[in-house]
């Protein structure tokens, strides 16, 4: 569990770094995806139990011993949900990026800053 968990936290940090330092919106979205993957790794590693097998009943795992032989099925189910939601959110963010590029012809977040003076007047 330890290695996967640490890798997950590492990805979380890398993703956050990317989201905070990059100016390009596409790169910020990539940072978000990396962070997302880190969270998935952490959740899966939390449910893992050493020496156990996948939570599927077949010849290798008799039904009666299921609770002693398999890893926790709940984190797997949660990650399944999280992956699909992450994909949907990424698609939504990318279409926002397309729309922003259409409106200003740029993907740099500095170009979307409101002029300071204007904001003061309003």
């Amino acid at each position: 569990m330890a290695i996967v968990t640490i890798l997950g936290f590492l990805l979380l940090g890398i993703g956050l770094w990317g989201m905070l330092t990059r100016k390009n919106i596409i790169k910020i979205i990539i940072g978000f995806s990396i962070m997302d993957t880190g969270v998935h790794l952490i959740i899966v590693s939390v449910g893992y139990l050493w020496g156990r097998t996948a939570p599927i009943i077949d010849a290798a795992v008799p039904q009666a011993q299921a609770a002693q032989r398999v890893v926790d099925p709940i984190p797997s189910a949660l990650v399944l949900t999280a992956i699909v939601i992450g994909l949907a959110v990424t698609a939504l963010m990318l279409s926002y990026a397309v729309q922003m590029h259409r409106s200003r012809g740029s993907l740099n977040i500095d170009d979307f800053r409101l002029p300071v003076r204007k904001r003061g007047e309003a």
Binding site: T5, Y48, A66, A67, I85, V98
Partner: protein, 243 residues
């Protein structure tokens, strides 16, 4: 410089916040009581060989319904953001007309697609669709299920679009498949409420023999419709993002 320092501090604080997660989560030796309950009940009560599917479709069925709803909302959002204004459509039509009139070598604007890609996509597309259907029909037996199968189907459509970008997929048909399968999903959930113990209870159909295709009550039926819904939604997103 100051900004970079602030970012480093923010990340360090974030790491500090998560540190207890890393140190306090000792290696687990056995399943939590809830997981034990699911592991034992998943086969006995629901007849599903794949315990993850039992959790996703029945025990946590309401979460899955919410997830499908979020996916639907995202699809609607993508479609809304990337729709074409009537002015853009007019401009495009005008550009196409002038191109037709002006250029003799019609393919000038669009790079030609490789022969291998276009032939291969035609051969592979039905196989990919069949593989996706196989994955979601066997979701209660083997690793996989509606979401995975749906994504495989969408990847087949992605291949088709990559091979020929002029190909149009009908939004109407995709939306029809999507909303029909969503409606059937909810209807099956309500059927569980009427015939069995509660909303999205899948035991109103016979459980059958563990490990066979026709087993686990309504789980394979529900998961197939989830698969169709996810597949058509993702294809819809692809079609919207194509331009």
């Amino acid at each position: 410089m100051i900004k970079r320092l602030l970012i480093l501090v923010a990340i360090a604080l974030f790491g500090l916040m998560l540190l207890p997660l890393l140190t306090d989560l000792g290696p687990f030796k056995q399943l939590t009581p809830l997981a034990t309950r699911y592991a034992e009940g998943g086969t006995g009560e629901l007849g599903a060989a794949n315990l993850v599917t039992a959790v996703v479709v029945t025990y946590r069925g309401l979460d899955t319904l919410g997830e499908v709803t979020v996916l639907f909302a995202a699809t609607a959002g993508v479609g809304f953001l990337l729709r074409k204004s009537s002015r853009q459509k007019d401009e495009e039509r005008g550009a196409a007309d002038s191109e037709e009139a002006g250029s003799a070598g019609g393919q000038a604007g669009r790079s030609p697609f490789s022969e291998i890609l276009s032939t291969g996509s035609v051969a592979l597309f039905p196989l990919i669709l069949m593989f996706g259907a196989y994955i979601f029909i066997h979701g209660h037996l083997t690793p996989g299920g509606g979401f995975q199968g749906g994504v495989v189907i969408a990847s087949g459509f992605a291949l088709l679009l990559a091979a020929n970008s002029a190909r149009r997929l009908s939004h109407g048909v995709l939306q029809l498949v999507e909303s029909l399968s969503g409606a059937v999903y909810v209807a099956l959930g309500v059927l569980g409420l009427v015939l069995a113990a509660g909303f999205l209870d899948t035991t109103f159909l016979p459980l059958g023999k563990l490990g066979q295709l026709f087993s686990a009550g309504a789980i394979p039926i529900i998961y197939s419709f989830v698969g169709l819904k996810v597949g058509s939604e993702l294809t819809n997103i692809l079609e919207s993002l194509r331009k």
